[in-house]
């Protein structure tokens, strides 16, 4: 009798857990594949969905329409899940975001809610297989989703930091886009003279502006030489004109790209394929934030189209990594690169003293700092300043000047170059 009761209890538990699992709005398959980025706000996903039969009584047989509708809904949920949490570049990257999302995920994955993100879904299935003696149906379906709308909704729900919030506290990252330039070549000249490269820049800039990033156009390179000569540390990289340009215009991030197209004949038709490598760098350190190569399909189309298709394939993933980097950097404060060169009129001991005082001052005014280079007469530092205290680079400059003036009565701080990212100073003996 006890055994019978135990069996009934176990069965009831299994039954109710199965019912609960079925009633959950969370996706079952969580399998999806990125197909293409069909524009700045939409992505095409090949998603897998499972339809599972949950018997309501012992003799309840699987119903095809129930399985199919269930599988279609699960495919939609899995596609949205993939954008949020799946793949290499999900929208939700930080543990805080994931934790906030777990509180709202049931309502977020409700059928009515996710339907608004589906812009289009294919009538046909890429795959349809019955499993588990007909109790389970697996389908694969292509759908187009509005990724921007998902992001906006998550921002409204407070799961993600809204771009507006970022702008208020830190400012949106300023991004500069330039083609990769061979040694000795000026990327601006390349941009002016090569239609293909110009098209590449336009497509990337279109993506960036539609995502409300500030795009800096490096139309002139005057002042670069001045910048280089101001800092010994920059001399090592003086051949990297793109890096210097980004520094000179004060970009937070710069994106470089290269484009190669290949063509061949299919019958008498020429088909072209473009491969586009896109790389994003942190300007202050030239640290690589993300790199991705995108490919177009082989098409009998004009160059511009296969290039745009190739860029679409790559840029989405690179931007996701930029966003992830930016969120992380935001938590540390506003980043500045500070380069100070001390006049050689000081002897070594005095110069060292000056530099020590400077590093102390920098440590004091920053949330976090990082020493890049320290020579006898030069200092190259990264600082993350509190944006509430130091809203712009001139605030940093003013504070530094005050500290140096106090510590070195015979020294005079001269501003060589300054923009929203870079502060280059020189200390001369009076």
């Amino acid at each position: 009798m006890t055994r019978l009761l135990k069996s009934v209890l176990i069965l009831s538990l299994l039954w109710s857990s199965a019912l609960l699992a079925q009633n959950s709005n969370l996706p079952i398959s969580r399998e999806a594949l990125f197909v293409e980025s069909s524009g700045p706000s939409e992505v095409v996903i090949l998603s897998t969905g499972f339809g599972i039969h949950t018997p309501k009584h012992w003799f309840d047989k699987p119903d095809q329409s129930e399985l199919t509708e269930g599988a279609k809904l699960d495919a939609r949920r899995s596609a949205v899940w993939f954008i949020l949490l799946g793949g290499s570049d999900p929208l939700l990257t930080t543990s805080e975001e994931k934790s906030k999302f777990s509180g709202v995920q049931e309502s977020f994955f409700a059928a009515d809610n996710i339907q608004k993100y589906i812009v289009w879904e294919s009538d046909r299935f890429e795959e349809r297989v019955k499993l588990d003696d007909g109790n389970k149906l697996r389908i694969k379906r292509v759908m187009r989703l509005n990724k921007r709308l998902i992001q906006e909704d998550l921002e409204k729900m407070g799961v993600m930091s809204a771009k507006a919030g970022l702008a208020a506290s830190l400012g949106l990252p300023n991004i500069m886009v330039l083609p990769e330039a061979p040694k000795g070549k000026n990327p601006i000249d390349l941009l002016r003279n090569d239609v293909t490269l110009k098209k590449g820049a336009e497509v990337i800039e279109s993506y960036l502006t539609s995502r409300r990033y500030d795009v800096l156009a490096p139309e002139q390179s005057e002042g670069l030489n001045e910048l280089v000569s101001a800092s010994k540390s920059l001399k090592d990289v003086e051949e990297d004109a793109t890096y210097l340009l980004a520094l000179s215009v004060g970009a937070d991030i710069y994106i470089t790209y290269n484009i190669s197209t290949e063509s061949r004949k299919v019958g008498s038709t020429t088909v072209k394929k473009a491969a586009v490598a896109v790389r994003a760098f942190e300007t202050t350190t030239a640290r690589l934030l993300g790199t991705e190569t995108g490919y177009s399909r082989e098409r009998p189309s004009m160059d511009a189209m296969v290039i745009e298709e190739g860029i679409n394939d790559a840029i989405e993933k690179v931007l996701a990594r930029i966003t992830a980097y930016w969120k992380e950097d935001l938590s540390r404060g506003v980043q500045y690169k500070v380069i100070v060169s001390v006049s050689t009129a000081y002897d070594l001991e005095d110069a060292e003293n000056v530099l020590f005082k400077l590093t102390d001052a920098l440590e004091e005014m920053s949330n976090t700092s990082k020493e890049i280079l320290l020579t006898d007469y030069t200092l190259d530092y990264l600082i993350w300043a509190n944006p509430e205290k130091y809203q712009k680079s001139s605030d940093i400059y003013r504070a530094l000047k005050k500290t140096i003036d106090r510590a070195l009565p015979d020294g005079k701080v001269k501003r060589v170059s300054m923009n929203r990212k870079l502060i280059v100073l020189k200390i001369d003996m009076e």
Binding site: G39, D63, D123, R124, V129, V266, G267, R299, P300
Partner: protein, 542 residues
């Protein structure tokens, strides 16, 4: 025991190898060569006119809407070069012919395909590609190199061959008129070759051969006319059999997905462009993964076409079908064409009406066997399940007067229009038409001590027939049912003839063919026929 055997048989029939990837038909580029390979000594006896007719009829029947055609001029140098090489070749095997095709035609065919490649590739741009950035934003056609390669790899060549030909002629004088009865038999088929394109190089490889045979009959007053009519009946039926055989080739079968299911009604994305016809049969099914992880295709009933969408005008037009054997259907399931001839053959067993109101005379028929052919004219009238039927029933006849009984037979032959109403496996029909009714009795009499004569009494009339019936569909090509028919026709006179065809004065006796007929019937839908009964019927009336 029977149940388990049946279950095993059903499982065997229902499950066949498959893959999870959804299979869709893509258009093929077909090249027809105006050449018929005469592969036997008997076939070389055919006249040029006969060979040309066979070739033209095949060309006509195989002009399927699902294909694109690459025209090769009959009088071109290539064609004469090909014919020359075939004539001089001792080896007419498929591989030997493929070598000749490689040498002669392939470059030209690929050139034609190449000229049309972009237009044909547009057909291959699927719904997903049409929604991609290249078509929506860049306003491009969305064609990829893959589509173009698919077009260049969709080339097929077919070559008809005849490996058997026989004709016979019989002359007989009837009523002082000479009548010639001719019979012609053709056997042969089509050789199919596939053109492969890879990185700019092309080659032809043998694919398969489809064979059939056909016979034609004709009886005419002119021997030449009889022979030609018998030949054309055989050749036309031969070509029609090969049309179905071509549709049966796996590469050419129409396949798509079900996009809508409402009860037993389905919708799918194919239509006039692919040459779908009203009442065409399609098998539904789905891919199933077994516990061992193996994929198989499980059939789940069949549907017939109700309305055909015009996707020449509107590419998104949907055709609809009605389920006959209806499984558990849902959108996304596979739909595969099941090609058959557009006709049903009925085999019947039952009773036919026969009586007389003459006092003291009993005229009856006890049983009858019948056959009927129902030609589907649904496409013609643009409505499902309309048929033109031609049928004949043969039965016994018995007349008893006093103690004397004469035996004979009855023949009922009718032409009707029939409308069927399908409800899942069950269908009911009503029909009406004209009928020829004849009763024939024989009387063996001893004229004198040494002579016995057989007298034949025949009563004939033309009347009307109305009927109805019900059928139960057993499988995609078999059904059983019951029919009821009411015949109307009376005759007052009987012709009398003896063994020597000597006519005697007519016998006056009322014969009533009016009455009811009830028959059990078995319905079969064939993929090929040995001869065409309609043309045979036409050709046998001089």
């Amino acid at each position: 025991m029977h149940k388990s055997m049946l279950a095993t048989l059903l499982i065997f029939l229902l499950i066949s190898p498959g893959s999870a990837q959804m299979d869709e038909y893509t258009r093929k580029s077909i090249t027809f060569l105006d050449a018929v390979i005469l592969a036997s000594s008997s076939s070389r006896d055919m006249s040029k006119r006969q060979v040309d007719h066979t070739s033209a009829e095949l060309k006509r029947m195989l002009q399927l809407e699902r294909f694109d055609y690459n025209p090769i001029s009959t009088n071109s140098k290539l064609m004469s070069n090909f014919n020359h090489q075939v004539r001089n070749s001792r080896d007419l095997s498929m591989s030997a012919l493929a070598v000749i095709l490689n040498k002669t035609f392939v470059a030209e065919i690929v050139k034609i395909m190449d000229e049309n490649a972009e237009i044909r590739a547009r057909e291959l741009v699927d719904e997903t590609a049409r929604m991609s950035f290249v078509t929506t934003k860049a306003k491009d056609l969305g064609i990829t190199a893959e589509n173009l390669e698919k077009v260049l790899n969709s080339g097929y060549i077919y070559l008809p061959f005849i490996n058997g030909f026989a004709e016979s002629m019989e002359a007989k004088k009837e009523d002082d008129v000479m009548k010639y009865t001719s019979s012609v038999s053709i056997s042969g088929g089509i050789l199919w070759f596939k053109i492969d394109y890879l990185d700019g190089s092309t080659s032809v490889r043998p694919l398969l051969a489809k064979e059939t045979s056909s016979t034609g009959f004709a009886q005419k007053r002119n021997a030449r006319e009889a022979n030609w009519d018998a030949f054309t009946a055989a050749a036309d039926n031969y070509a029609r059999n090969l049309e179905v055989a071509t549709k049966e080739i796996e590469d050419f079968k129409l396949k798509t997905q079900v996009v809508e299911v409402t009860g037993s009604k389905i919708g799918f994305n194919m239509g006039r462009k692919e040459g779908i016809h009203i009442d065409d049969r399609f098998i539904l099914g789905e891919t199933v993964m077994g516990s061992d992880g193996q994929l198989s295709f499980k059939k789940d009933g069949f549907a017939r076409v109700l309305t055909v969408g015009d996707n020449n005008i509107n590419p998104g037009a949907i055709s609809y079908g009605y389920g006959v054997i209806v499984g558990d259907w849902a959108p996304g399931m596979s739909l595969t064409e099941y090609p058959t001839l557009p006709l049903d053959i009925y085999g019947m067993l039952g009773v036919m009406p026969l009586s007389t109101d003459e006092t003291g005379v009993e005229l009856v028929s006890h049983f009858a066997l019948g056959a009927e052919m129902a030609y589907n004219i649904g496409q013609l009238v643009n409505s499902s399940h309309w048929y033109l039927t031609l049928g004949a029933s043969l039965g016994d006849a018995q007349m008893t007067e006093d103690a004397e009984t004469l035996y004979g037979s009855i023949v009922y032959s009718d032409m009707s229009v029939m409308k069927r109403f399908q409800f899942l496996r069950l269908d009911a029909y009503a029909k009406g038409g004209f009928t020829y009714m004849a009763t024939s009795l024989t009387d063996d009499r001893i004229v004198d001590e040494e002579e016995e004569r057989t007298y034949t009494y025949t009563a004939e009339t033309i009347g009307a027939v109305f009927g109805a019936g019900v059928n139960l569909t057993l499988s995609i090509d078999w059904a059983i049912g019951l029919r009821y028919a009411y015949y109307m026709g009376n005759s007052e006179t009987w012709t009398v003839k003896d063994d020597d065809d000597t006519d005697y004065d007519d016998m006056i006796l009322n014969t009533s063919h009016t009455g009811e007929s009830i028959m059990f019937q078995l319905v079969f839908t064939p993929k090929a026929l040995g001869f065409n009964p309609v043309s045979a019927l036409g050709n046998l009336s001089p």
